[in-house]
Symmetry: C2
Subunit: 402 residues, 2 copies
């Protein structure tokens, strides 16, 4: 299995193959000439690279684009919707999910299950996840997709580059090593904080990722967050950035599972909101009932959601004062409550960020992510696809059946 | 005055001259051979660059370093302590200061003045600053230094790349354009938030800036902050990052000048601490009296400082949960109270960052900056010097008297 070290030239070729793939993933279908312009190579060089990728069945060529265009209309290239795919998995507090995205980033397979993972042993939870992953893999086979990697979202702290969950208070996990428990037949597996993956999905869903900067809140039973600045996820010194759920809202407030008091989660976590609305949290009941009561104008329910929005506004005003982002995005299950949650959040944030807002006429945009609670799962699959596109040699070897 | 556009080759030469200068600023004195190793050029190429810089009197050559070393001992190069210098100025709420640093970064001249700038018209304040700058320039002349640029620290929001103070609540300034009011004879002038400059001074004062990451708090009448991640100052989308002073500590707390309530400044700003200790804030009295009472063990004074430390700990626990920095540094005048301020701050921070601390055995380091209240002024002069070292063509032209 020993391979010769890649020469600089072959490393450059791999990099250029990868740039062709990423360009088509972001903007395809495109002609060879447009790809050449985008990546700054000659058309001849791009044609050679494209030939390799067509032979490896990573690209598909489509007939002339527009008729009536001047000159010989170039045929259009796109990434295949068969062949390699990236798997994403999510371990939620009360659900498990696995999906597969093709190289274009489209979700093609998705299986999920209501499952109360809270305070269950990791091997029981991961056993369920492996069973879901087998179903997802079988469905992917059925549409001509084969696994090229897996990324897993967990609601906890994962030190950078490891598969260890250091703390996941809402699962009741502490120092859990997932390495031996993860699906073994989907390619390379990586593990990440769910809010970080949700933030990446949000970043990739927009037009100009390189210029984007935002605080993304993943609001569900736990409240996670991530910070994206200049198009890059801020990971922190140890990989633990984004713990918005434990930012103090009222320092003498109710005790929190983390050991602090009055943390954001004690006001705006899903269970706290349900309890404040007089709904006992538990499998099956949950947010649907609260949404219905808000729609019916039930005062206790509206008060509970308003209180959560205010608490989110207080915690986020600290983040906005410190980081000066371009926007704030709310994701996670609580986005279903956006019509009642966002107005008090915006009001509180506006009131407390007057200095940081400087002379801005318009308030900082605060929106619910269009991906809703799907962000982390989509981000996981998207990360697996992007990691695969970074390594065309491996994709091509898999295509040859090496 | 029209100059030909620099060819790529001359641009590369300018870049390499600048790299020689920055390497000697960071590590000098060094031999030519060591400089060549550091910047990855041949010794011959470095000798040519050094020749130019010696002729331009930006470098000085010293006799053989250690005797008894093997082979011909190389002579040592260092930056000159005469010639170009960077000026730094600080507009504080109750003081003005101007200093000059030589190319090695050493402060050679410093003049300052107690001056209550609060609620004074900008042209009166800047008139005083220009007078101080004239004195500093005369003193610099006296030791053979000539101005190569000025950076000014202000306690307010300065949009990136401008000389406009958008808001400085503790000065009572709003939308103040400084361009016509700044000293005109010290070279190019730039204006920055004081906490950002304090953070840069802290960063540059340590061994390995590129790997450093911290939250720097500039605690005085106003409380500013800046965030440094991976050795880079985080400026935010509009240049307004770091407004820790308006992070809410107790959301229903006392009203703040910013329009919010219970902001950190209302608990831990210098005036708030003095009032809580029963000392009426005003010119001349101030922190010395409070320090004396703390040293005497006076309970009201100790309680006031403890309350400020706790408030700082609450606000910083939000920042630490969000950003996962390597350390927290307190600068500004309040560092004089460090023995009484830091223990409650550390206690509060430890209690509220258990999740973000993950499995760390040792608590996050929280220290008083050794630069104390000098950070912003030193950072300003340091930035002016670094900006000058970025442009060797201009330094050499000035040396020739162009």
């Amino acid at each position: 299995m020993a391979q010769p070290a890649p020469t600089p030239q072959s490393a450059m070729r791999q990099l250029n193959l990868s740039r062709v793939l990423h360009t088509l993933a972001a903007e395809g279908p495109l002609s060879r000439a447009t790809v050449a312009t985008r990546i700054g190579l000659t058309r001849a060089a791009v044609s050679t690279l494209v030939e390799t990728l067509l032979r490896g069945r990573l690209l598909v060529e489509e007939g002339p684009g527009r008729s009536g265009s001047v000159g010989r209309p170039g045929s259009q290239l796109r990434l295949t919707d068969r062949g390699p795919c990236g798997f994403g998995a999510e371990i939620g507090v009360d659900h498990l999910a696995v999906c597969a995205a093709d190289l274009r980033g489209e979700i093609r397979v998705r299986v999920e299950k209501e499952f109360r993972a809270q305070h269950r042993a990791p091997d029981a939870v991961l056993g369920e996840l492996r069973a879901l992953a087998r179903r997802a893999r079988a469905e992917a086979d059925g549409v001509g997709l084969r696994p090229a990697g897996l990324a897993v979202a967990v609601p906890g702290l994962v030190p950078r580059g490891t598969t260890t969950v250091l703390r996941a208070p809402n699962l009741g996990w502490r120092d859990v090593e997932l390495a031996g428990l993860l699906p073994a037949d989907l390619g390379e597996v990586t593990v990440h904080n769910e809010a970080s993956l949700g933030g990446l999905a949000e970043l990739w869903s927009r037009g100009d990722p390189a210029a984007d900067g935002f605080v993304y809140v993943s609001a569900q039973i736990g409240i996670g967050a991530c910070v994206v600045l200049d198009g890059r996820l801020l990971s922190g010194a140890h990989g633990f950035a984004g713990e918005l759920g434990h930012v103090p809202v009222r320092p003498e407030g109710p005790p929190c599972g983390c050991g602090g008091r009055g943390c954001l989660e004690t006001y705006a976590g899903e269970e706290a909101v349900l309890r404040a609305a007089g709904i006992e949290p538990g499998p099956g009941v949950r947010l649907g009932a609260l949404t219905a009561r808000c729609e019916a104008g039930e005062p206790t329910a509206l008060r509970a959601v308003r209180r959560a929005g205010t608490a989110l506004g207080i915690a986020l005003s600290g983040a906005v004062n410190l980081l000066d982002p371009r926007r704030v995005v709310i994701g996670g299950t609580l986005t279903r409550l956006a019509p009642w949650l966002l107005p008090p959040l915006r009001r509180e944030l506006g009131r407390r960020t007057a200095v940081a807002a400087g002379g801005r006429e318009t308030p900082l945009p605060v929106t619910a992510s269009p991906l809703g609670p799907d962000g982390p799962l989509r981000g996981a699959a998207g990360l697996a696809v992007r990691t695969a596109l970074d390594d065309p040699a491996r994709l091509l070897a898999a295509a040859r059946g090496d």
